[in-house]
Each structure stands twice: as structure tokens, then as C-alpha cells.
């Protein structure tokens, strides 16, 4: 076990850690919708849809707003 944080990080400088941190947050806050991200959302929507009639209706009302996002995820191109 390392004795302190300097040993734990070894040769890595704060600059390396800072690059990783910035990349992590740029991905986290990214507004892009790649297919992988979209697929992760699917089970949630399906579960909600299966819950009952009222939730299903709610979700369908929301569909028109979601379509551009879905298209973007599938084609990889941003609209507009």
C-alpha cells in the first residue's frame, strides 16, 4: 500500500489527473445523444409504459418531443 497520495499516483502529475477529470465532466454534461446512451434510457421508458394506461398515454404525448433526439441517436446526425 502506498504511503501517501504522491506515491499512489506515482509518475502521474496533476496535469494528467486534471485532463481525465475534464474529460469525465465533458462526457457527463454532454448534450449529445449517441446510440449507446439512448439504449440505456430504453428500459426506463419501457417499464414506465408497461406500468399502466395513464403512464402509457403520458409517454405517447411526450413522443413528438423525443423524436428528434431518437433520430439523432440512430443516424448520428444532428437536425436543424
Amino acid at each position: 500500500m502506498a504511503d501517501n497520495f504522491m506515491e499512489e499516483y506515482g509518475k502521474e502529475t496533476s496535469r494528467d489527473v486534471s485532463m481525465r477529470t475534464k474529460k469525465y465532466f465533458s462526457d457527463l454534461f454532454s448534450l449529445e445523444m449517441p446510440l449507446g446512451r439512448m439504449m440505456k434510457m430504453m428500459p426506463g421508458m419501457l417499464k414506465f409504459m408497461m406500468h399502466g394506461k395513464d403512464t402509457r398515454e403520458d409517454l405517447f404525448k411526450f413522443m413528438p418531443q423525443m423524436m428528434p433526439m431518437m433520430k439523432e441517436a440512430i443516424t448520428g446526425k444532428k437536425e436543424g
Binding site: D3, N4, V17, S18, M45
Partner: protein, 237 residues
């Protein structure tokens, strides 16, 4: 190994600010007056905790020290520091953001994992955001089980959330990635083994911290702001 200034990333704060969507602001105006630390309840009980030093290190770009510290996890978001800061620096937001960053570096998972049982059992299944499961020995001995007190007051032992509410919570949690995150952190409940009673020991599911969470390799944290880091200060040996 000595810490060297050239090891710091002096552009860090300026380049991070725009990425952080306004969560991390104004730290460059910090006067290092120490009012935040002076009134901080966490600092009053844990001498090495010092919000002023954490802000200083972030502005100087000493990112390694902040992210690998135990101290980053000692704030409990009371916002007292924000209310007294002459420069209006919202330090709790910093803590929130840099805890995420620390987890990405593999630090702090022993704390986050404690929430998993509650998150899956109470939050996703029952929609309850405040757990009625009490494990503080002081509360158990002096006040008793919260659910019994609720029953005496004519309430159900636990709060109840409507099925529709639970479905919404689940969808929001799935869409925001929270469910995947909870699944990723696995189930570990950490109790202080030296103080728990037989009753608590029975319920205890303490497991050692896993060496990996998803792709992230976990590390133990160091006391980077009090006594110099060392084996005797490292947590959870």
C-alpha cells in the same frame, strides 16, 4: 517523495470552469480569509478538514491532493461556508463536483457504497427518499426505533408513495443513468465494527471495498490536509 509545484496544473481551474456548467464559480476571488473554515461544523470536529485549503488547491491546480483526500468527504452540505463567505463562493457545489471527480479517480467508494442498500431497497422499490432504518446506536438507545414512534403518532411505520409515483421515480432514475450507477456500485454496508451491538452485527453486511467498480480501480484515501499522509492515517486498513 516531495510534492513539487511544477506537478500542479495551474490552468486547471480556468479550463474546468466552462465545462462545469456554472457549478464551480468565483473561486479565483477567494481571499483565503478562512471565514468558511472558522464557522464550518465539520471542521470543528475534524481538525484536518479545511475548506479554505481545498479552494486554494483547486485554484493552484493541485488536483491530486484534493481528489485523493479523505477531507473532501467530510463536508455535509450545510452551506454555512457559503453564507459567511465575503466573496459569495458556493463551496458545497465544489464539494459535490469534486466528489464525482474523485469517484472517477477511484476514491471515496467506501462512502458511496453505504448508500446502495438504501438506494435500491428504499428509493427504487418504495420511492422513499428518507430512510427510516435507524442504525445510530445513540438514537436507538435514547429515542428508539423511528417506525415505532411513527406508529404511536398514528402514522404507518414507513412513508408510503403511490405506485404511479414509484413508476415515475424509476423512470427518472433510469433516464438520468442513476439506476445504472446504483447497480454499478454493488451492495456494501459499512458499520463501525468496534461500536456496534450484537443486534446490529446480525444485520451487518460489511464486505471489504472491491478493487474495482466498473472500469474504475478503487483506492483508499489519504489525510492530505492534516497530519501528512501515512499508513497510520490511511482509512480502512
Amino acid at each position: 517523495m516531495l510534492e513539487q509545484v511544477k506537478d500542479w496544473d495551474d490552468d486547471f481551474y480556468e479550463t474546468f470552469k466552462p465545462i462545469a456548467m456554472g457549478f464551480v464559480n468565483e473561486a479565483e476571488k477567494c481571499l483565503q480569509c478562512g471565514k468558511c473554515t472558522g464557522q464550518c461544523p465539520a471542521a470543528a470536529v475534524t481538525p484536518s478538514y479545511n475548506p479554505r485549503k481545498i479552494i486554494r488547491d483547486l485554484v493552484y491546480g493541485n488536483v491530486k491532493r484534493v481528489l485523493s483526500s479523505v477531507e473532501l468527504w467530510q463536508c455535509f452540505f450545510c452551506s454555512g461556508c457559503y453564507s459567511v463567505c465575503p466573496m459569495d463562493i458556493n463551496f458545497p457545489f465544489f464539494v459535490f463536483m469534486f466528489r464525482l471527480a474523485a469517484m472517477n479517480e477511484g476514491y471515496g467508494w467506501e462512502d458511496v457504497k453505504q448508500l446502495e442498500g438504501y438506494a435500491e431497497k428504499s428509493y427504487l422499490k418504495d420511492g422513499i427518499t428518507v430512510s427510516t432504518f435507524e442504525r445510530n446506536p445513540f438514537v436507538m438507545d435514547n429515542i428508539g426505533d423511528i417506525s415505532k414512534i411513527r406508529v404511536e403518532a398514528g402514522l404507518p411505520p414507513e412513508r408510503t408513495v403511490s405506485p404511479r409515483g414509484i413508476a415515475e421515480i424509476n423512470m427518472i432514475s433510469d433516464l438520468s443513468g442513476m439506476t445504472a450507477f446504483m447497480k454499478q456500485i454493488g451492495g456494501v454496508e459499512l458499520l463501525d465494527c468496534t461500536t456496534c451491538t450484537d443486534e446490529q452485527a446480525k444485520r451487518c453486511k460489511t464486505k471489504p471495498m472491491p478493487s474495482k467498480v466498473g472500469k474504475i480501480k478503487t483506492h483508499h484515501r489519504y489525510y492530505n490536509y492534516g497530519e501528512p499522509g501515512g499508513k497510520k492515517n490511511a482509512e480502512a486498513r
